[in-house]
């Protein structure tokens, strides 16, 4: 805290440079990415100046009894849902941090959750080989999607929320009709467990990643594979998602690297490094604020925030005492939620003070 006050003092004397200058100082000393070029602060390039990131811990939420695997904000940003290996989904107020309720029903741990776009339903993927759809109002599971022959690892809604895509350890990607709960399509997508699957913003494409190191893009209408993205070293892919405009995909791999790929040209356009990711499937996400950043958890118990364009680490959030397995950004405000594994079991909400 003292160090922080000191920085603020310095800032007052040179207001022009205050914005980017203090951000890297919050990074640990050993982090070489912390050096932001001073030339960026010149008035001539002020339009390119990187706005400040000064995320501070707002709330610490405790309640889960086993590793927390997924965090998702509701579409209106009022509620945070968390899923864990303790087989339950918990809901928290994103505003006050208050505990709201728990959904119980799965017989095994939950790996992933997803909100429908109207915020009335939440889907959960579990090791009991099912996906359940829960109605928030009725506080019960309204559909159980049965079909996967092994653990279900990831789940996502289509933009119209009439379809659901799930992937799991049976190496398939499945597309479900929500209204009837029937499986519409089984895609034998990969030759290793599927770690992530998600729709493009217009609902015509699905991207999937797997432990075989491949990322594939599928045409939802025909079920055909349209593209395969693979890196030279073929590291295990732990997560993939489309950018908001669906022109790129953000791929996290277990060589401690996050890459942004242009899938049309099959080219990696940005690389983000600095964090540690060799064992777990840690997702990365974009901030939804005006200035775009990339946020990811890390196996060194920290959360890393990169600038989308410059690829520099803007801030490292410390506080968790175990691997940060889940991170999520708020849909409208500059808030990050993070959660950690066994030794910690807390959910933390971080708010950008300068945002």
């Amino acid at each position: 805290m003292e160090a922080q006050d000191h920085i603020m003092d310095v800032v007052e004397s040179e207001t022009e440079s205050r914005i980017p200058s203090h951000a890297p100082q919050q990074a640990p000393a050993g982090n070489t990415h912390g050096e932001l070029p001073n030339s960026d602060q010149d008035a001539s390039s002020s339009s390119k100046a990187i706005p400040p990131t000064n995320y501070k811990l707002r709330y610490t939420l405790a309640g889960h009894t086993m590793s927390i695997s997924a965090l998702k904000f509701s579409p209106d940003g009022l509620t945070l849902a968390s899923a864990a290996a303790d087989k339950v989904i918990k809901f928290w107020s994103a505003e006050t941090g208050e505990y709201l309720r728990t959904f119980k029903g799965h017989s095994e741990g939950i790996s992933d959750i997803a909100w429908s776009n109207d915020g009335e339903y939440i889907a959960s993927a579990s090791d009991d080989k099912t996906v359940k759809i829960w109605n928030l109002e009725l506080v019960e599971a309204v559909k159980t999607l049965v079909g996967h022959t092994s653990f279900v690892f990831c789940v996502n809604y289509s933009p119209h929320s009439n379809l659901l895509v799930s992937g799991g350890f049976d190496e398939t990607v499945r597309v479900w009709d929500i209204a009837t709960g029937k499986c519409m399509r089984v895609i034998p997508a990969h030759s290793d467990p599927v770690t992530a699957a998600g729709f493009s913003h217009d609902g015509t494409l699905v991207v999937s990643s797997a432990m075989d190191g491949l990322v594939r893009i599928w045409d939802i209408d025909s079920g055909q594979c349209l593209k395969t993205l693979v890196d030279d070293d073929n590291p295990v892919c732990s997560h993939v998602k489309f950018t908001p405009n669906s022109r790129f995909v953000l791929i996290s791999t277990q060589d401690s690297t996050i890459r942004l790929w242009n899938y049309l040209t099959s080219r990696c356009v940005k690389t983000y490094t600095g964090h540690a990711n060799r064992t777990y499937c840690i997702p990365a996400c974009f901030t939804n604020t005006q200035h775009k950043r990339i946020v990811s958890g890390s196996e060194d118990s920290k959360i890393y925030i990169w600038d989308l364009q410059t690829r520099e680490v803007l801030q490292v959030l410390e506080g968790h005492r175990d691997v940060v397995l889940a991170v999520e950004t708020h849909p409208t405000r500059d808030i990050i939620a993070s959660a950690s594994m066994e030794k910690d079991l807390t959910i933390r909400l971080w708010v950008n003070q300068d945002g």
Binding site: H160, D202, T204, I220, L226, S266, K292
Partner: protein, 445 residues
């Protein structure tokens, strides 16, 4: 989005039946987004199909006699059904009632042949009765009215005994109403003033049976009792203030007819860009669709054969080479262009080529480069800014979808447009009103 990854030349014309929706439909029409199909039945019920899940998402149940036509508002919030039970019903698909309740009922004193929304405002409805009369019903508070469209002859008296109205359609901008008559005439009314601005005698056509407009708005195709489709390029009509009526004999640009069997046409529909015309034949043995290429002198490009169930209606998807054709037993066939599986897509960095290519190796292709150099070059390349939010391509796609409304937007200050935009309906494209997903109870099935 997926179009950027699929090769372009595959997007030509429908070739195969992709799926057939089992319904008892006699009428099936796409909405403006192409996501839904509205299907009407002879028993008076109607359904909304979601093409993504290929299942019925709403049942519209109110008519007691056959549904004769259906129409979508521009952003698919409202659907109207017209029926032989003398009613036109407007449904609000965003209503949360289950089962869905009627939004508005418009009652007439004769069976309704067809009804359609004004393209800009779903509170204005054009209705045609089987007595041969057409009405414009305005449901807006300020304009509330029901006006009959009358062809006043020069000498002042109306001449209804001579010709009945058999077709009534708004053009794509909604500025004009096109009426086909039993005497083979096309009458053009101004939608706002309901006055006659054009009258065309189509030589040899006989009773008019149907109209379709290409999205650009200048092309009209007519179906008539002489079993011929005629395509016209429409003239510019005088504004109603000039009191003049454009009286010309339109000469068709192309005529399409079956020269061998002389079979009649049941329905026709333009492709999204207006370059192709699909005609559904009233054949008594097979389900046949002929597709003509307008850009190449109207020559026959392809014939689609849909088996033994006879065709009764067809409609082209608003943006893709997909056709929905309804059969006489009530199934809806969805025709699409089959894209062959590209197995090369399963391999990373692999590109299929159509023909063998002699590979030219670059001079330095296999030189061993300094890793540091490679790294610097990569970092340099990564400095280029990326745009993950905005998207030119999406805007482009959007413009294809809404090209009809863009044509209209160009004359936004036009008197007729202003009139139609007064008291707009709540059917905005940005408003969060979407068709809610109703989860079907398993016991219910």
């Amino acid at each position: 989005m997926n179009r950027s990854l699929l090769s372009k030349d595959n997007f030509a014309l429908p070739t195969d039946v992709k799926t057939s929706l089992i319904d008892h439909a006699s009428y099936a029409k796409f909405d403006n987004s192409g996501r839904y199909i509205a299907a009407g039945r002879l028993d008076g019920t109607a359904s909304i199909w979601d093409l993504e899940t290929r299942s019925i998402v709403r049942n519209l149940d109110a008519h007691v006699k056959a549904v004769t036509s259906m129409d979508w508002s521009r952003n698919s919030r409202y659907v109207l059904t017209s029926s032989k039970d003398w009613n036109v019903i407007i449904w609000d698909l965003c209503s949360t009632c289950e089962p869905i309740q009627r939004h508005t009922t418009i009652r007439f004193d004769a069976p309704v042949v067809s009804a359609s929304f004004h393209p800009r405002n779903s509170n204005i409805v054009l209705v045609l009765l089987n007595t041969g009369d057409a009405y414009v019903v305005d449901l807006r508070k300020e304009h509330r009215s029901r006006v009959e469209l009358v062809d006043e002859m020069e000498d002042g008296h109306t001449d209804k005994s001579r010709s009945a109205m058999t077709v009534a359609r708004f053009d794509t901008s909604g500025k004009h109403i096109f009426i086909g008559t039993s005497m083979g005439c096309v009458l053009v009314f101004n939608s706002r003033t309901k006055t006659l601005v054009g009258r065309h005698k189509i030589a040899g056509a006989g009773i008019m049976r149907g109209f379709d407009f290409a999205k650009g708005g200048r092309r009209l195709v007519t179906n008539s009792a002489d079993r011929t489709l005629r395509q016209f390029t429409l003239p510019i009509y005088p504004p109603p203030s000039s009191q003049s009526v454009l009286e010309t004999e339109l000469e068709p640009q192309y005529r399409f007819s079956d020269h061998v069997n002389r079979t009649a046409w049941h329905a026709m529909s333009y492709s999204p860009d207006g370059d192709f015309l699909a005609g559904g034949v009233a054949d008594t043995a097979t389900h046949k669709i002929y597709i003509y290429d307008i850009t190449r002198d109207g020559q026959l490009i392809t014939t689609l054969d849909g088996g033994r169930e006879l065709l009764i209606y067809l409609h082209w998807h608003p943006s893709l080479p997909i056709i929905a054709s309804t059969t006489n037993v009530g199934n809806i066939l969805i025709w699409h262009c089959r894209i062959p599986e590209r197995w090369g897509a399963f391999a990373g960095g692999f590109e299929e080529v159509d023909e063998n290519v002699e590979y030219q190796e670059r001079e330095d292709e296999f030189d061993i480069e300094d890793e540091a150099d490679v790294y610097t070059r990569k970092m340099k390349a990564e400095e280029q800014e990326v745009d993950i939010d905005g998207d030119a391509e999406v805007d482009e796609e959007k413009s294809i979808l809404t090209s009809a409304s863009i044509v209209v937007a160009s004359d936004a200050r036009d008197e007729d447009t202003v009139w139609a935009d007064e008291e707009p309906d709540d059917d905005s494209d940005t408003g969060g009103c979407r068709l809610k997903i109703i989860i079907v109870d398993e016991d219910y099935l």
